[in-house]
Symmetry: C2
Subunit: 496 residues, 2 copies
């Protein structure tokens, strides 16, 4: 195990390389060296890429070099995609060229058995001797939003944002980047950390912690290769920004599976759980919560307690959301007397006077806007889960020819209704975003509804996200409240 | 409480009315009577609808009647949408007209407090006296696929299929019908059972149980109004087809919330849990699992045990899926020696020789096809969860102009690749469907991928569904294995 303190420059070279040598680059898209180069080229890498190939003088229309030592420019980062047995010599070439950071995509190291383990140890020894720091081996690559660099084995175009992500499984990493596109959750840096022969999870986490542009960190963790310093780094980062961990290999069979794929024994679960709790890491229990939390926790205001107010336009959904809150250890308290009084003035006489606040058959979205404000201001409430905040898809029905004729609807009626619903929906969203800022209470939305695309950016910026099921919204609120609890505890303690 | 035996005709009138009187029909789409009529008309109801309105002679271009007694035809079903206090007189009109089944949408009965409770008791008494059976009050309406009848308060067009659905929350019902559209899960009958003053969950369940066209039943249940006979009915139905229950009001606050919205105390959870287990009802623990299970359980072969084989193209996803299986009480056993041997001939030397079967970097979809067959034939395996079975979306990358030029790709190459991937994907799906039938082992798929629309119907028919997360797929498999266990136990017992 080598020193942790000196890797800052290596990780700068990894995530912001002005020049990249791709060793094993090829025209053949059926090979990883072809797919990675295609990825680098089509995603608009802002630096300069040098294909290295001992046979072809030209690769994808670019001059190729037989060895890295022939490249005229200084090389910040080398990426090796060739078979395992060729890697040591190539690493020596890199050392000769003065390259200090090498991303090893090549597999067939410790993850494949005793022979591979020997190869990995030899590689590590060589790296130590040459002063090179290694990412991988058996990595699927990296993504860097600032450099527009997708140096990865999977054809993917991640959305840019401010989540940074370390994954001990390349495929899980790729899938999360892909899900992020659908969720509008953007990433800043991603690293598939592979076998972590040298650089490890801890190093990447420390780097992301010190990066002011990174607002939250995701870690898919199966095992801790280098336990030293882990807790200190985790504590230091989670003091500044949320770190969301998904632990793979929880059960017995899962640990066996993990052992065979990332060359490490997945550690005992209770020890991990305790270490996450002690260091303020937020543990996601489902793959969806993993990305949901990374996306929402960084932006929502940290609530002052665990008491949730629920507002809904359907009794059953209020019941389910309440159940889900209780299951997650959150409190759904009765409303403050002043809240009941204020809502009495807006809702029909028979409203339930309780939490969840069920708007029953009130369809006026402006009343919804007023009710959520009253609920957010309730002194007993620390955060709000709001269902059905946006007007539904009525339009497709109103504009059916058969209906238009029958009720004498004109196109302008339909358009007027549509734009009315749109602006009412925007008003609700604007109101909530404003209240979140002033009251410092988080809101999580549930349900579909019409959302104006022009409004998406403001919602994303405020962390006001819509989840399709109450369970997902509740999990986000629960993890947010857990993180807020940790941060409050820190503040109560004297700085150590 | 009235007799349960005689309701068959009433429920036939409810779900297959040749004639429907809509009392409270109006031109005004802002009123429920307008929205329901619009729903009935635009969804192509196969019967005849008679608007009833004391003031307007014409509603939505149709002749309206002042009273049901003025309608010339016999009326199978009346639907009342007018204020609570008008309902008793209208019910008497229905009795005079000879109508025996009335759907009461009107609210402000027992769910709103003591006054409403009195009104509900009076209504029930009146129904008993006139021989009318009542659905509701406080129902959101019904859907019938065979009649193309959407007699509901929400603008919705459910997909037709063979799930029948009873919901003690109208809004949850509507949302599930809506989700069904996205999932391609179709419904046969739906009833929002409202306050269940008269006809109750048990009656609807019995009717759906006796309907050979209905292949699975969903119940959103907060409370049992009429407990008598419930267990017997549940047992009789779950012997024939899966009945999936979602229980609302599990925690203390959730029970309070349920009490205020459906006019009933949600019962003690342990009692419900035990009754579900005893009667073979399958309890869904998430809203997604609710519809996922109703959709998949009816069609997948019932597995002979609880042992799951996992096949994946990424180690991390195998780990997560294994963890999720163990969490759900399923077994992920080692592979049979013959399976390892057979896979040895197809996979690279360093494959893990374990379950999950990780195809590592094998991208050939035809090898996937062979591997899943070997895994399905493993005598230690009762069902398979298959991740990444379909080829991914490579096309959008291959057809990028910048890439096409650089690697000299021609449009015909791209098209050839695309159709190759398509047909390979179809081959995998066809193979799995065939194996499910012959081996009687279920398969649940995880992941996106390219799916030919022409193939969707065959997949849906076979119950071969794709879920976006491993957790969802595992929950479906877990509930299926639970149901299969119950059915095996039944078969082992002598018929009672």
């Amino acid at each position: 195990m080598r020193e942790a303190g000196s890797v800052r420059e290596n990780l700068h070279a990894l995530f912001s390389p002005r020049t990249l040598a791709l060793i094993g680059a090829t025209n053949n898209l059926g090979k990883w060296g072809g797919m990675i180069l295609a990825n680098v080229l089509t995603n608009g890498y802002k630096g300069k890429v040098f294909p290295v190939n001992p046979r072809d003088a030209e690769v994808m229309g670019m001059r190729a070099y037989r060895k890295v030592t022939e490249i005229p420019d200084a090389v910040d980062l080398a990426c090796i995609v060739t078979p395992a047995e060729t890697v040591p010599d190539l690493l020596l070439d890199c050392a000769r060229k003065g390259i200090r950071t090498v991303l090893v995509i090549s597999s067939d190291f410790a993850e494949t058995g005793p022979e591979g383990r020997k190869r990995e140890l030899a590689l590590l020894e060589l790296a130590g001797r040459t002063g090179i720091r290694i990412v991988g081996p058996n990595s699927m690559g990296i993504f860097s939003a600032p450099m527009s660099l997708v140096c990865m084995m999977a054809l993917i175009e991640p959305l840019r944002g401010d989540i940074s992500f370390i994954s001990q499984s390349g495929n899980i990493g790729v899938q999360m980047l892909e899900w992020g596109r659908g969720l509008k959750a953007g990433f800043r840096y991603f690293v598939s950390s592979g076998n972590e022969a040298d650089l490890s999870c801890r190093d990447y986490l420390k780097y992301f912690g010190e990066d002011p542009e990174c607002r939250s960190v995701m870690i898919y963790l199966e095992s801790l290769k280098h336990g030293e310093g882990w807790l200190e780094v985790a504590r230091a980062v989670s003091r500044e920004k949320p770190v969301v961990v998904f632990k793979g290999g929880k059960g017995e069979a899962g640990q066996r599976a993990a052992a065979s794929h990332s060359a490490a024994l997945a550690g005992a679960v209770p020890i991990f759980d305790a270490s996450f709790r002690q260091s303020g890491l937020i543990q996601a229990r489902t793959t969806e919560a993993f990305i949901d939390c990374a996306r929402s926790l960084a932006r929502l205001p940290l609530p002052g307690g665990d008491r949730v107010g629920i507002i809904t336009r359907g009794g059953g959904w209020g019941v389910i959301t309440t159940d889900a809150c209780e299951e997650q250890g959150l409190v759904v308290p009765p409303l403050h007397a002043g809240t009941v009084e204020a809502l009495d003035r807006l809702l029909p006489a028979y409203w339930s006077r309780g939490n969840p606040v069920d708007l029953v058959a009130v369809t006026n979205i402006r009343i919804y806007r007023e009710c959520i404000e009253i609920l957010m201001k309730d002194p007993n409430i620390d955060g709000v889960i709001a269902l059905g905040a946006l007007p539904g898809r009525v339009m497709s029905f109103l504009s059916r020819p058969s209906l238009k004729e029958r009720v004498g609807l004109k196109d302008e009626h339909v358009r007027a209704y549509e734009s009315g619903a749109q602006s009412a929906g925007q008003e609700v969203l604007e109101g909530i975003i404003h209240l979140m800022k002033t009251l410092k209470k988080p809101v999580v939305l549930v349900g579909g509804g019409q959302k104006s695309p022009v409004y998406e950016a403001q919602m994303e910026e405020a962390g006001l996200n819509i989840y399709p099921t109450p369970e997902r919204a509740v999990r986000v609120m629960a993890r947010l409240m857990e993180y807020a609890r940790y941060r409050r505890r820190l503040e109560a303690e004297p700085m150590k």
